[in-house]
Amino acid sequence: MSLDALYQEIILEHNRKPRNFREMPDANRKVEGHNPLCGDQVTLWLRVDGDRVVDVSFQGLGCAISKASASMMTAAVKGKTVAEAKALADEILAMLIGKLDVEKERQALGSLAALSGVSKFPQRVKCASMAWHALETALDESNPEGAAPEPAR
């Protein structure tokens, strides 16, 4: 499997300059994700207003794949409705394990398609999925983990 498919330029670029890489003091959702295979962790903050994700940010130590995936995720999700964000997470998680027809969806995926190379590296799938799993948890209203530990403010 070609390394270039995994470390596409856009991935390396997001790794170098991750978007929304900051704490969010006024978040109303905060979730910790972690990758048991390596011990790396990500913290995800969301501000959800009504049915819309108005802000997303993250921090954490991890590999290029995990950092780029989290960064691209924040950029893609910001401004989406909760339902849209959930649907996107489903789609990307399917893509990461090779269960999505990337060619057919390339238009819709946009730059997120760059993450599809991960599906050929089973040991690295968890790296890319970590942030998206954290997003799912954060968006799940029934999940107490989703609530920010300190109320916003």
Binding site: S2, L3, L6, Y7, L12, N15, L37, C38, G39, D40, L61, G62, C63, A64, I65, F121, Q123, R124, C127
Partner: protein
Amino acid sequence: MTTLKAVAQAQAALASRRADFPLLVKFPELHYLDSAATAQKPAAVLDAMREYYETDYANPHRGAYDLSARSTERYERARKRVAKFLGVRDADTLIFTRGTTESLNLVATAWGRAKVKSGDEIVVTGMEHHANFVPWQQLAIAQGADLRICELTEDGRIDLDRLRALVTPKTRVVAFSHVSNALGTINPVRDIAAVARKVGALVVCDGAQAAPHLALDLDALGVDFYAFSGHKMLGPMGIGVLVGRREILEFMPPYQMGGDMIEFVYDETSTWNVLPHKFEAGTPNVAGAVGLAAACDYLDAIGMAAVRAHEQMLLELAHKMLGEIPGVRIYGPAAVADKSGVVSFTLEGVHPHDLATILDEDGVCVRAGHHCAQPLMRRLKVPATARASVYVYTTAEDVEALGRGVERARGMFG
């Protein structure tokens, strides 16, 4: 001239040695640098197991027929062979287990639950593999004892001064590794044992990374228990060893209970068999023991001094190559003579897992992660390192491929 000739001979020996390893022959472009995780197998080891299964296979100890007697004889011969490899004269103090992890759990449970009481202290070091850390930590929690962790020097050694300060008359156990799997540090076993012995503490040594690489004379090492795994020393999976001091093994309660380890089973109570059977409940892994004995034969034919010399040469090369790459940091002792088998390093700006993935494309197999030593990683203040580790079949070309790969990764992420 003579040195050049010796080098040429060693190279020829190495080339013919690689031909003994079917996996390496099958994948000539592979640079297997993860021998500290597990070693590849020479055909001789696989052949020995097969020959046993095809010629002398039966349940040992129990049968009243010749085939079973032969199987028993194979098992006990393997025990004696491994004991000889280790320098253990009383072969009945050598217990076959599943591996290092089981060996250490056996001691922490059977000895620990009987002897460690509330208020006692257990000393481990900051460089232990989880197998020699978590069982003691959990024993301490269960018994209300105090787990004390000996901190390390800057260059990844056990700090003997701190150890002396940490060990008190309340210390019941000092558990430490002979060689660190994450740093390669060779620890001064005799000195550590002396500190422990002074206060009457049990001396438990994790030899998982030492038995495969260093000539051992266990009877002279001064430890009470020594544990290692077969699969890291050319042997098969599923077999390991615990060597214990006879007086301690005889007093200790057994660990697992079942067939072969009992003497009499009454309805209300039971009595135990003699050593080594008391600690080998159930049908033993005879094939595994036979394979491990064959691995000892293979290593002794090379000679453990030659094994060490070969590895030192490779470590020198690795330190030199990696040391020249900007952004590389090597953990553990700077002098190769103080290390065995392992180079643990990071490359600035590149996560070790990315590094490993990039190296893998060139067939360079290294491990990235915490190396089952999270307490050490916290102390090193890194989430992970990359680790290259060598063995009898590793070539200079393998190490060079590692150097080239690290350079390439630096370029990609630069």
